[in-house]
Symmetry: C3
Subunit: 663 residues, 3 copies
Amino acid sequence: MAAARFTGSRVGESVWSTWEPENGRFELDWLEPVLDGAHERGIAVVLGTPTYAVPPWLSRQCPEIAAEHATGQRIGWGARQEVDFSHPAFRFHAERVTRAILGRYAGHEAVIGFQVDNEPGLRLPHNHGVFQRFVDHLRAVYGDVETLNREWGLVYWSHRLSTWADLWTPDGNAQPQYDVAWRAFLARQTTEFVAWQADIVREHARPEQFVTTCIAYGHPALADDELTDSLDVTAGNPYYDMQDGLELPDPTGGREHQWLSTGVWALVRSADRIFSSRQEPFLVTETNAQAISSPWDNRPGYDGQWRQAAWALVARGARMIEYWHWHTLHFGTETFWGGVLPHSGRPGRVYAEIARLGAEFDTAGALVAGIRPDADIAMVYSAPSKWLMQKYPPLGKPDGGPDPAAYDRIFDSFYRGAFDAGRQVRIYHARQLGEIPPDLAARRHPVLIAAGLYLADDAMLDWLVTYAAAGGHLVLATHRLRRSRGTVPLESRLAEAAGAWYDEFSNLAADLPVRAAPGSPLKAPADATATRWVDGLTVDGAEVLAEYDHPHFGRWPAATTHRHEAGRITCVGTVPGPGLARALAAWLAPEPVSGWWERPESVTVMTGTGTDGRRVHVVHNWSWQPVQAQAPTSLTDVLDGSWVPSGAVVRLGAWDVRIFVAT
Amino acid sequence: MAAARFTGSRVGESVWSTWEPENGRFELDWLEPVLDGAHERGIAVVLGTPTYAVPPWLSRQCPEIAAEHATGQRIGWGARQEVDFSHPAFRFHAERVTRAILGRYAGHEAVIGFQVDNEPGLRLPHNHGVFQRFVDHLRAVYGDVETLNREWGLVYWSHRLSTWADLWTPDGNAQPQYDVAWRAFLARQTTEFVAWQADIVREHARPEQFVTTCIAYGHPALADDELTDSLDVTAGNPYYDMQDGLELPDPTGGREHQWLSTGVWALVRSADRIFSSRQEPFLVTETNAQAISSPWDNRPGYDGQWRQAAWALVARGARMIEYWHWHTLHFGTETFWGGVLPHSGRPGRVYAEIARLGAEFDTAGALVAGIRPDADIAMVYSAPSKWLMQKYPPLGKPDGGPDPAAYDRIFDSFYRGAFDAGRQVRIYHARQLGEIPPDLAARRHPVLIAAGLYLADDAMLDWLVTYAAAGGHLVLATHRLRRSRGTVPLESRLAEAAGAWYDEFSNLAADLPVRAAPGSPLKAPADATATRWVDGLTVDGAEVLAEYDHPHFGRWPAATTHRHEAGRITCVGTVPGPGLARALAAWLAPEPVSGWWERPESVTVMTGTGTDGRRVHVVHNWSWQPVQAQAPTSLTDVLDGSWVPSGAVVRLGAWDVRIFVAT
Amino acid sequence: MAAARFTGSRVGESVWSTWEPENGRFELDWLEPVLDGAHERGIAVVLGTPTYAVPPWLSRQCPEIAAEHATGQRIGWGARQEVDFSHPAFRFHAERVTRAILGRYAGHEAVIGFQVDNEPGLRLPHNHGVFQRFVDHLRAVYGDVETLNREWGLVYWSHRLSTWADLWTPDGNAQPQYDVAWRAFLARQTTEFVAWQADIVREHARPEQFVTTCIAYGHPALADDELTDSLDVTAGNPYYDMQDGLELPDPTGGREHQWLSTGVWALVRSADRIFSSRQEPFLVTETNAQAISSPWDNRPGYDGQWRQAAWALVARGARMIEYWHWHTLHFGTETFWGGVLPHSGRPGRVYAEIARLGAEFDTAGALVAGIRPDADIAMVYSAPSKWLMQKYPPLGKPDGGPDPAAYDRIFDSFYRGAFDAGRQVRIYHARQLGEIPPDLAARRHPVLIAAGLYLADDAMLDWLVTYAAAGGHLVLATHRLRRSRGTVPLESRLAEAAGAWYDEFSNLAADLPVRAAPGSPLKAPADATATRWVDGLTVDGAEVLAEYDHPHFGRWPAATTHRHEAGRITCVGTVPGPGLARALAAWLAPEPVSGWWERPESVTVMTGTGTDGRRVHVVHNWSWQPVQAQAPTSLTDVLDGSWVPSGAVVRLGAWDVRIFVAT
């Protein structure tokens, strides 16, 4: 590890049964030589608490802590994260083992910080206690059942409650208002659990030690922005498809973004999502070493791809890159989750690739300590909208069934459009936007896309209009005007500001061609398409940007734009296909912050500002073909020190990346 | 509503928790202003009983009424129709609320009739009481277990009962004889429940008020002909794909017919199925307003399609068209089940389209009060055969798995063949045919297709042969000669009358080309195909109509025909592809009742007789392309009064329909 | 039956409720006339015990014997094989009925042998008793939990046991070490049950009567080689796709081999698997009569295909061909599992085809009494490796999910390559190889392929190296060097002998082109491909046979070969596509035992030695097209007595087979 310039490691998060082999009997000594050895070699350690993996004796003695995937249906034991972490019996044992470990090791000089639990929020526990607290929570929020009946519209299908005890369990529920409240409550349980454990850890930690947990962003019971409130730094686990999954141009369009992203745009989006949790640089606690995932899906990268991915993450704000994991296991579920070392334990190609990266990080020094990435476009992310669309998606699959990834598909069509156009994106949670004065937001981010923002309260809608009034360019897309919350007056006001509204909508069985409207500033390419959804936009003062080519849908514009006081509101009535999304991004942000690099399609440029204020350009070639690009400004190569005058050619090899600072 | 010429509405069927917010506390006043307001505006009201949606307090107080989808596995509460409606505890509460509502409102002058429950038969409840009554029912039918052992063939796989208590529950059952008896018993529970509730309602109703329930024809526990015995009129809920789903020619072939039909032929089939329940005109209680179905499947029609669908339903016997529903909800599962009014509540395109139709109905007047549709061809429908084929289908899917829609695929291939040939169909339940003297049937319907009639007792087979002997042309297709019931003698007699029989059969992995036999009167097109199934028809006197082009299957004819006394029996040995099915229909009914319209493929003609005896021609153009057709007879346009001489051109716009009476 | 020259039949295995209609009341007389009648007609009888189909009264009185598909989740009753056959209550009743039947009929002169139970091992019962015995078994094997913790690597994910009671039930288990131990234990339950029942039967049997059971080779709880230890002869039930499923060349590549094989190569593989159980000729207790399988999948053969399949099975060692079943049932799950007689009960085409075969067997006489099939290549089969790969497969499906048939896919790619090259295969269970001295094995089988041999202990690996050292040509393919068992030293030794090793591996999203290396003796065709998997083979002394054409994977050879003492070890780094697999087989066994027949692609030649020492050539034409081939040696046609001089033309009709002995 030292030879490969590893400077950090993570230990201890999966071995409760090693720390505490029997109820109340602790064995704590085994870690000491590990920490000592790390410290001697200059490797800092993040110490994990083991609570995500309860030992067999606890499962045997307290079977009631087993999480239930439906009321009364316990999840079998034998993997990990099978418990209802809100159960008091679990909390008792979790606190005891945490204090035992922290009491022993928090003071060790190798330990720079702590990870509490691991990838929390994997499950949606339907346990009795969880449900009863949910009812109490509703009682606290709504006061009486008549208010809940009215707010949730429970007259529908005869669901009016006569008393709180009437509330049905979530298993059979079909009501969206219930569903989204239940999902938000479950996410809050995760947040509360992590905060509870972080507080325990802090009682033992030194002031300079940080507390975090590692986040799998696709987990269902997770509100990452709320979760990280109680932490000192965000830590995320972005995994991604290697090999041809990183090729550009990307012919696949990517697959469903769960814990594994496909496509360069999706890798970058992963980083931007992690950045968004706290709007600051972050740690990568896990990412691809040799092979990831299930035994049937091993695809270790081509030479160069590890550097590429790591530098892309750094360019978007990563302050640390940790690999999962050091050596490949010889047993267990993750026997084929390949580590830096293969099964043989002998350094091989992957080790060499990562050692190469280690040397580069060493050379680059402080630059890796937290780049603040640039953004041409801001986008709003809404976890509640995603939760709702998982059960009630507006988009279907080709077979006619629901598409539970609908929220991501809508969001990603705009994200990827920006990426394809060479524009960089900053992602904000809706809650975070509300905390920024709209005029400040308009100055910081001249363009803000709200796509698939299905659940938004009056205050949020108000904020959006004010942002536009203050000079921002607000883009509303898909479902922004839905009257499902009964907020017609406010939404009407939003419609007025947009100069457009709709009453009708339709799914699309096939993509529709889209063309720029006569005189439109939009440069729609010949292959511009509308996909999957059409809002029947009715122009009421707005200018038409783009039109559908269809005898029926052609009556409505595909996109409109309208000046609103100092700013502008653009409405997009569909999920834009790649060509249309790219054209929209290019029009929305006409001058990319990265400057005008001359580059082939396989080359990307990511820019940002280092902690020392230097401007950084990270330039990738995502292909087998060596290429050259032309820099718009004078640059110095961080790794070899060479100087590139403005307008000079930058050469990149196959699957190459170069890191420059502006000079 | 009044402005759009609505003359009827339906209320009250989903709001038990509003009628009875707590056990025994009734709130009945709220409906009065609604009924008064309707009456003032000339809008008649069908009053529904709310029993399909039990309130939360009842679910809480009587959890034992929850329906079980498998023995002991309760369906979660939170949607509707979750209960075992045969449970006495449910019956007690259902009767009390029904009497409370009826006692209060049956006498209101706005109320013209009643709907009991709503779309009954959604589930197959496996509850203890249901199963125990099933055992009692078998005991009553078979007397002793030895008889059952023999009749069901329970020697097979060691299933002989020693006593009634030995009967296994349906969950693990693998025996077809058991399965079809169980399904028939469950359908009978639905029938009995509706009759029970209709009787209660009639105790309160005025003589001129009708009682009905609305039927979803795809429900699994439903025998619609038996169910409607206890009702005064049939009411059905045909939903259909709009937009390109109504295009002709139809390239898709339609998808599985569940609650949503695809294709014009399938829309018409829906109407013919509703007509068949009581062999008389009917009410449409629900059909597409703006958008139907799940959040991910909104496809509101093109301009004109609402008129088209409504007039098609009227042409096939509808006396009323009600839309589900008036305004789109802002909450609940059906938030995207778009009503006549959109979420905004403001009349929009859909309202305008339906108002246009309202005006047309107003102009057409009595014509809409019950057209008796014409038929070129009669077809037998067998719910028991369908039930059996859901678990033991004779057809597979491309992936090799069972095709639970096999019955419909067989039936529909002939139905659609008739439709494509411009022939109209009357559908009879097997039970209904048995009640018509065969010679009368032969006079009324010169052609009768029995396709997929897998379950038929000796009396039915006898009836079919007698029908042919009396001059009818009987068409037997797919499974008609199966010896699975041990009725070899009778079936042999059927074989003798047909001049053909088979012992062998095969599924087809790919379609086979079919050609007319030398000298055959059948005009088989070049693309005629056999699909999915081949009976090894052996000619024993019959004439060969069509042949397979295949080295193995070519040994058997694809279709035969044979004179039988005054009539004829034709055997079709396969599921005919569209071209072959169309050719068969054209040959079977050489002179369409509608007369010889000259028309492009996108134009259909539906004919029938109004209550006043006038002959009606309803002519549709199911396409974007304006077209013209040529009438075979002199007609008057019902809506604009214009006169079309015989042989003159009739023009139709895009997605247009014109209604004529013969003059 | 007599007219069709049937000489054997099988009775009694499915009718416990007929033998014992009530608990303890036996009715045994009914079979006597059947046995008498068979004996009078010269038809020998195999008498089955009925224990696989428990009667309803037993299910009612002892519900605790129901098998559980997961802990506490009982399988519903209503088919057969629903019980935990290890439960003492089941054993009590099973023994009593077995003794009653055997006591009555074992002495009947028609009875030549017995079948105990029927296709055992269908389920994986998770019952309490089974699990508790599993824990006891582990305790006996490992002694203490610390040993188990270490051997299974239970430190992983905090799974260390503190006491035996900590062991979790298999339902939630995610650990491969646990899974494979559990699967092996369940297979052993089946073995033990069959041995227990065979012992009971033998107490009643005459010495010359044999005991067997019929085996469905795809069943999950089955180790066929261990199971047949307690039997006198192997009996298997090979079912196969008829019609185009038997065509050669086979464009499909076959489908997943469960109980139904697709492709001629897979039919032959079925026979070779049955032969492998005891390495001796065998009985076919069931195979296709008219139609097999589910109601939706009837595909009775083309004329000639029954002869073809039967003679192929005989050529590969079958001593008896029994059809399932005599006549087609009129009730029950298998109503469409067509027998020799169709539903009508009248002899038809299938009867005629089988009668034709009966006459041929009569003519061929002793030749059918047990041919010992030839082999060019031996292959190792490993049930434990298959079990492990069912839950943790190394191969994925196109949709990204796991491919539970991965083991068969790997094994079959080599098997089919041999078949396509006209080479014949002998299959050995890994356990059987260990019992043959390696030098003897090297003399008997100059080529041995170990493909997908994932689980192999040190002794097995040692045996393989010694086999090569003794002069054998060992082929290692896919996963042979995995370090998952911690056996690095031994495996390293294997690597040394092979002159190659690997540390890296990758799944393939798409096939890779493969070409012969410069100077390689391999004749790789232009369409040679690598599929689904690549080992990163590193040459350490070996010669490169074949290479990938890919910028990344091309760094590793696709296959290497290396002299090792008197023999050779070849490593194949991928799952070879058909072209590559065929070329490998042709290179491995340059001189086919069958000799050099000149033959078109649709013709196969199977060879072996009869019990009388005669050399047999069975020549098939698997196509509609009559063909001719050229014999490499002088032959006599067994059926018509004609003589074919060496080099003369042999004519075959459509779907024909001819049987020759060398002269």
